[in-house]
Symmetry: C2
Subunit: 334 residues, 2 copies
């Protein structure tokens, strides 16, 4: 588990798109986002205070989070001196980059010297058991998608926010690096050895209060041939009681594989439910989350209406209108 | 790729069950099984010549294969001196044990000294790409199961044997440690990081002659919650043209998870085909392989007849009668 709160490092970000991780933290865990640290040529701004390393330490920040990604996922040479200074000032470092902090000798040496921790959130931090499939107490809701990158993480986080607003017991459970950096914990499912995928999901979502919901971040898609095995491990390890279907309606083909068309929401519903009921016969599909960011407001409203009528399930864009109706549907479950 | 042929090490095997790996090599790659090496208190016998290390080297053996498993999958202290002598005599070592050869300092030191190779076949030997889903030339046949350990590897190997007998182009493709030791190559799919499972299967089964069949060893089951993700990665990475359903009719519950019942062959057929057709719309289920080892001959015959009539597909026990009718069905495909 990563120590919070954070000082968010935006580095020399060329634009606001490249600080997606930092923005996720600011949006979903504002209490962790004490301040931002920007280099002179940074073109991104999260709208939170700028602080020096010392000011942020004095304000209580524990971890210096690399909230910026460059092409190739490397640790930029321009950042190195600042990362070393952060360790010297008493920060732990956390990174979701492909290039590992723990593979950089100078960073490791400096972290040892100041007894600080390094978190490479793409790398499993422990071993996981093989899934045993035993029923667990508490409830679990999983987001499943017609494709990768259609809003599964965002939907789970939006549901958590709304459930906390209603004083319901709920915990977002991160299964990818952005989610782990946002919440400070989770499993990097895509890096876990195949035998232990479902067991890692069981470990992540253990027994809990009967009225508690784990909101599990989905990954990939049962219909995306590159990552479908990960999606099925989430369905079988997660033993969900409820599924939310996630979709982006303007996508022309499955992400990264041009020869493959997206499935219909009906096909996603049926295959997800059929496989989920192997582990939990009571599992139900309770709602639909549509990422309408590429549609006009009018198009979005019409699309949501159409989907809702066709599928007989609440269909919302939680980006635009919150996850209230999805949480209503969870609460209506017996 | 492991150098062949082999000297098969049976160690101090307490019984013939514990030399399953060595027997697999003898049965399926007799040309690799030059001889066996047994310690004084060995209770197993493969019925092939016993040779000393020197005799086997002179007969051409290249690799000393640990063909015996003890409880816990460790390298027994009693074996150590012989393994070191084998390296000294010029053998490479290959092992499917849980405890790695490469983690034993004395074995590593000795292998370096004699410039020999160590193969821990449970550990991926390279990195694999993310699956791209592009169509490939050649044909592929995958075994899928109602459960783990129902005869998927055996079925694929039996089909390869029969196809070679008919002078057809076919290659068994190993995806687990026993299969890798039998053939000397393959992928340890259960140890590959989740993101790369399907890509590893694509790498294993690349473009080939139009009339060549890769016979892919299946793993797990879509219905086994611990390992279903691995099975789906095989289906989507393998892009099979043909599926064989594998089943063991006396199993009372899914292996290792007592609360879970086996699916029907119909359910296996439907879910396997539906998921396989995402990657290859022309995929067909062409036959059924039943492990009847727990039935009497009469029971087996009746069961096979019943399944064949019910499913409308050839149903055989390749252990007992060979895989001829499964290969007939492959050959009848357009």
């Amino acid at each position: 588990m990563i120590n919070t709160p954070y000082l968010l490092f935006l580095g020399d970000a060329p634009d606001s798109l490249s600080v997606k991780v930092a923005r996720g933290i600011r949006d979903w865990r504002p209490e962790y986002a004490i301040a931002q640290y920007r280099m002179n040529d940074c073109n991104a701004d999260l709208g939170i205070p700028d602080m020096t390393l010392m000011e942020a330490r004095e304000a209580g920040a524990q971890t210096f989070v690399i909230g910026v990604a460059n092409r190739g996922g490397t640790i930029s040479e321009n950042w190195k001196e600042i990362l070393l200074q952060a360790l010297e000032h008493g920060f732990d470092l956390a990174s979701g980059l492909h290039q590992q902090l723990k593979r950089d000798h100078l960073i490791v040496f400096t972290a040892d010297k100041y007894q600080r921790q390094l978190f490479d959130v793409r790398i499993p931090q422990r071993e996981y058991p093989i899934a045993n499939g035993e029923p667990r107490t508490g409830k679990r809701c999983l987001t499943v998608g017609t494709d990768c990158s259609v809003g599964k993480m965002y939907t789970s986080l939006a549901m958590e926010k709304e459930m906390h607003r209603r004083k319901l017991k709920a915990t977002f459970k991160a299964t990818g690096q952005t989610g782990i950096l946002i919440t400070g914990e989770g499993i990097p499912l895509d890096a876990i050895p195949a035998d232990f995928m479902a067991g890692a999901v069981e470990w992540l979502t253990p027994n809990n209060d009967e009225d508690h919901w784990d909101l599990i971040e989905g990954q990939g898609s049962l219909f995306h041939i590159s990552f479908s095995g990960i999606s099925l491990a989430l369905i079988h390890g997660g033993q969900p009681d409820a599924l939310i279907l996630c979709h982006e309606p303007t996508r022309e083909h499955m992400r990264g594989i041009p020869g493959y068309q997206l499935p219909s929401l009906e096909a996603l519903r049926d295959l997800s439910l059929q496989t989920a009921q192997i582990a939990n016969p009571d599992c139900k599909v309770i709602g639909i989350s549509i990422n309408t960011s590429e549609l006009t407001d009018k198009e979005a409203d019409e699309y949501l209406d159409k989907v809702e009528n066709r599928m007989g399930l609440p269909a919302v864009d939680p980006y635009k209108t919150g996850a209230g109706r999805l949480v209503d549907a969870l609460q209506e479950l017996p």
